[in-house]
Symmetry: C2
Subunit: 408 residues, 2 copies
Amino acid sequence: MAVNLQIPSESEIFPVAGVEIGVTEAGIRKAGRRDLTVFRLAEGSSVAGVFTRNRFRAAPVQVCEKHLASGGPVRALVINTGNANAGTGADGLKRAQDTCSALGRLLDVPAEQILPFSTGVILEPLPLDRLTAGLPGAIAKLAPDQWFDAAHGIMTTDTLPKIHSRRIDVAGKMVSITGISKGAGMIRPNMATMLSFLATDAAIEQPLLRKLAVQIADQSFNRITVDGDTSTNDSFILIATGKSGVAISSESDAAYAAVVQALTEAAADLAQKIVRDAEGATKFMTIRVEEAGSTEEALKVAYAVAHSPLVKTAFFASDPNLGRILAAIGYAGIDDLDVSRIRLWLGDVLVAVDGGRNPSYQETDGQRVMKEAEIVVRIALGRGQVADTVYTCDFSHEYVSINADYRS
Amino acid sequence: MAVNLQIPSESEIFPVAGVEIGVTEAGIRKAGRRDLTVFRLAEGSSVAGVFTRNRFRAAPVQVCEKHLASGGPVRALVINTGNANAGTGADGLKRAQDTCSALGRLLDVPAEQILPFSTGVILEPLPLDRLTAGLPGAIAKLAPDQWFDAAHGIMTTDTLPKIHSRRIDVAGKMVSITGISKGAGMIRPNMATMLSFLATDAAIEQPLLRKLAVQIADQSFNRITVDGDTSTNDSFILIATGKSGVAISSESDAAYAAVVQALTEAAADLAQKIVRDAEGATKFMTIRVEEAGSTEEALKVAYAVAHSPLVKTAFFASDPNLGRILAAIGYAGIDDLDVSRIRLWLGDVLVAVDGGRNPSYQETDGQRVMKEAEIVVRIALGRGQVADTVYTCDFSHEYVSINADYRS
């Protein structure tokens, strides 16, 4: 059951000129599921990607990195669910390349101009025959208004599609921004978290787009965690087709600030939607650390709290067991932390000061906050001026059930 | 339900000359539970301790460190369950000191010669009145044969008492070694894990005992993990009363090797018993990493696997979902890891080679191993000569239930 995950209506999804999408059922792992998605991009599109840092990164991730590094254009993406093509060695690499070749032949573009993506079970061979047999069906459906189908087509244990769309007016011209994401478990920062594809019809030159992809990922997908598990496959792809007539070639361009802000907000929403639909989640938790000496310090504390199974199970139980939060702060790895300076809020309730319980804290106040579906934990360290925020969810019976049953 | 946790019979527990123990029901948190334990140590005993590295370390831990640092003798320990006296600020510190003063008056020793220990709920004031009211009852029971009662008296969410006892013959003289431990959740290495008290009637001089306490903890309690949560309170105390007539004053003494080996094995068993009785555990997992370039590397990989909720839920399901183990190895933080050199065994089954699945691996072989209650995961990194081992357990519905309900 997702936590307050907003799904826009069809009429709120704006196609991005220059992007066509086709989705089909290829039977990759099970029949009757939309599991194969193709993106075709107009000539002249810029594409940049940020990929998992897992050393066991999947074959398609390796192929993506190679194709992007070649500096040539990208004209299509191909995404399958049901199989991650990870932990599959040289044979897996060949299957990812063969996927690109097969789609290239059908679209009449070189294989090097295609990026492949896979998500699903690790350590099993990608069923290449079924995948390539499905490609013509996906291509037959290529159309600009298929973003919703794509959001469905990339889902695995997700319960709801994740989609974000907006239009902004830039000096009288309309710029569209639409993106999708997937991911529900094996979610941890450092771009190892999920698949997300975000497109705009603004023109953004390739070197700037590469820089922007990293910067935007850092403010969105690198600020969420579900279970601390960094996946082998996950990828964020930023596409700029240029079809709107709005062009950005440097950070000093008039349109830069507006477009980047809109892209960042879209990515942050797509990232938070992953947490809202996390496996078994019943609570959406915002962990905000203030008065840190550095971003690294703030994130150490925020992730220690966000990853603690004891904190996460207490939130599942709506139990204001705040000692577990203090314990997590204490083991976050800041060696000279002075706990007597720390203040801790649960929602608007100040629960801890001076290294202990706030004398005026009432358990009933804590319980009132814990019953909400969205909870802000705010921690002031008393060490500096830096603040940062991480988003996570609680840890429920359902998480165990889903992950104990996933392959069965 | 603990996994193969051996409980010795009463006749297998050897008293340690110089150690008397008394246990009582003080009603610290709930009535009708043995929750207060006193150890009285003979004059001339040496005592050393290793304590949590959590910055929110509890008041009794701070008092222990202060009393041990003073260099004076230690004549008694006092241990309560039901309340951790952690996150309690200056008031908590005073209550820990007052506990020592109260026991000191009753035993006629200075408060500085007493070490206090607390375990239980964090962030709530220690009920000092009930604790001190219980002390005379514990003292009335002081006797050398109360180790079993003590093992019960320090339990919290533990389902079984954890006790280890042995005698060794050292050049014709008998040396007794007996210890207890507690802990079931909030278990993570770096001595932040549990309470354990291990005593011998060998004589070991204070500076050597201090060194040994660190060395033994590192080979036992610092090699286990349940949930990665480092607690605020936990402590390992090593006691040498000298009453056996066997004396060790340096590492070159004849008795040194035999006594240290026996103490280390006792501590390792007490540590592994904690994992066997971990909250909700149904499987005991040994994660052995070989061919690492350093101990740090071996432990990074072992703990990444041992902490992964996805790995732990797969083991709960007896599902040989080995890709999750590879993914954890991949995100363990070894930046130049060459995954093509890695080999992975589940029990005696070689499941992965060359960065992918072993071509001759059969899923039925993996399933056979996964159905066992004790499973060895062996990972060869192909980087060097160092090996190390970490012990952990699976992650079940029961873990969520226990931790969602703990305070309720």
